[in-house]
């Protein structure tokens, strides 16, 4: 009887530990970002797909719908100080590259919709912007802070990343040229 109870106890304990390890593994695979690790190894990882609400109120935007063009994907938030310095530079870049198979997409993360719209109006932003209040893209892209910019090629692969604000037009143009260069 005692042996049986001990055996049941041991099986239950092993089962609980295995279940907790399984949960941990599941959570880690959900959060894992292969984008930054592959970029560090010199690769061109596939840009994680997303469909998010447009901040201009014109429905949703699926990243895949932009396939065939180079994408400047900028993660920002209206409460982020460096984003305020960077946004005019991006807007100028958008004007410069518009019509050259390049699109700019801003992803507003962990922010109030109203604050984001005010921000875009204040800085006269005319490129596409989507809303990701829950931050669902942050973990998949490996965004470590705001702002952060990813350069995606026409095939949908990330070619370059700038962590922190884009410092000047030359840095922005260099990123775009990498995304436009043949694979």
């Amino acid at each position: 009887m005692t042996g049986r109870i001990r055996l049941v106890g041991q099986v239950a304990a092993v089962g609980v530990v295995a279940a907790l390890l399984g949960l941990l593994a599941w959570k880690l695979t959900q959060d894992e970002s292969k984008v930054t690790s592959e970029l560090h190894r010199g690769g061109s990882p596939v840009a994680p797909a997303f469909t998010l609400e447009r901040l201009d109120g014109k429905g949703d935007l699926a990243l895949e719908s932009l396939r065939g063009k180079a994408i400047v994907l900028n993660f920002w938030a209206s409460w982020c100080g460096p984003c305020k310095d960077e946004t005019p530079l991006l807007q100028e870049g958008w004007k410069r590259w518009r019509g050259k198979d390049v699109v700019f997409v801003g992803v507003d993360v962990k922010d109030f919709r109203g604050d984001a719209r005010d921000f875009l109006a204040r800085y006269g932003v005319t490129y596409l912007n989507v809303y990701d209040g829950k931050g669902s893209t942050v973990g998949r892209y490996g965004v470590t802070g705001f702002p952060e910019t990813y350069f995606v090629d026409a095939a949908g692969n990330v070619r370059y990343r700038i962590a922190g604000p884009v410092e000047d037009a030359a840095e922005l143009d260099a990123g775009i040229e990498r995304a436009l260069a043949p694979a």
Binding site: T2, G9, W79, K110, R113, D115, G135
Partner: protein, 152 residues
């Protein structure tokens, strides 16, 4: 009479909860909501987004929103991760179930151990077996002498 007393107690207990729901304070909401960037409760965070959330809460309280309405609006904007207490559904349900399951398992283990211990103690208290062989007369005499030394 008993039903009236029970109803009165229920009313007394429900009143503070209803007041908190209908007229929430900024302090209680800030302790029940989490900054989505630093993942600390709003009352302990000064992150820029936390400051905006605090300002939002104060505006909504002034506008007469209930606690549920304010929380629902913040969940709509930032997702359920802003709630300090995880919702009791989906994957987050595990956060509620696991500690209770752990407690139940612990209580069951303590119960089994206590039961086994009491059974062992019970067998110790049983009267001595009379079928044992009598002591050697010399040894018995010596034992009596030794015991007599302790008697007053």
């Amino acid at each position: 009479m008993r039903a009236t007393v029970v109803a009165l107690i229920a009313l007394l207990l429900a009143a503070p909860a209803r007041a908190s729901e209908e007229r929430p304070t900024a302090a209680e909401l800030e302790s029940e909501l989490v900054c989505p960037v630093c993942e600390a409760t709003l009352d302990t965070s000064n992150a820029p987004v936390a400051l905006r959330m605090k300002a939002f809460i104060r505006r909504r309280i002034a506008a007469g929103d209930t606690k549920s309405e304010i929380k629902a609006e913040l969940v709509d904007q930032f997702g359920p991760a802003v709630l300090a207490e995880p919702p009791k559904k989906g994957f987050e349900l595990i956060a509620w179930v696991l500690p209770l399951a752990g407690l139940a398992l612990g209580a069951a283990a303590v119960g089994v151990l206590a039961w086994r211990w009491s059974r062992t103690r019970g067998s110790d208290d049983e009267p001595p077996d009379d079928s044992q062989e009598p002591l050697d007369p010399a040894l018995e005499r010596r034992l009596d002498d030794e015991l007599a030394r302790f008697e007053p």
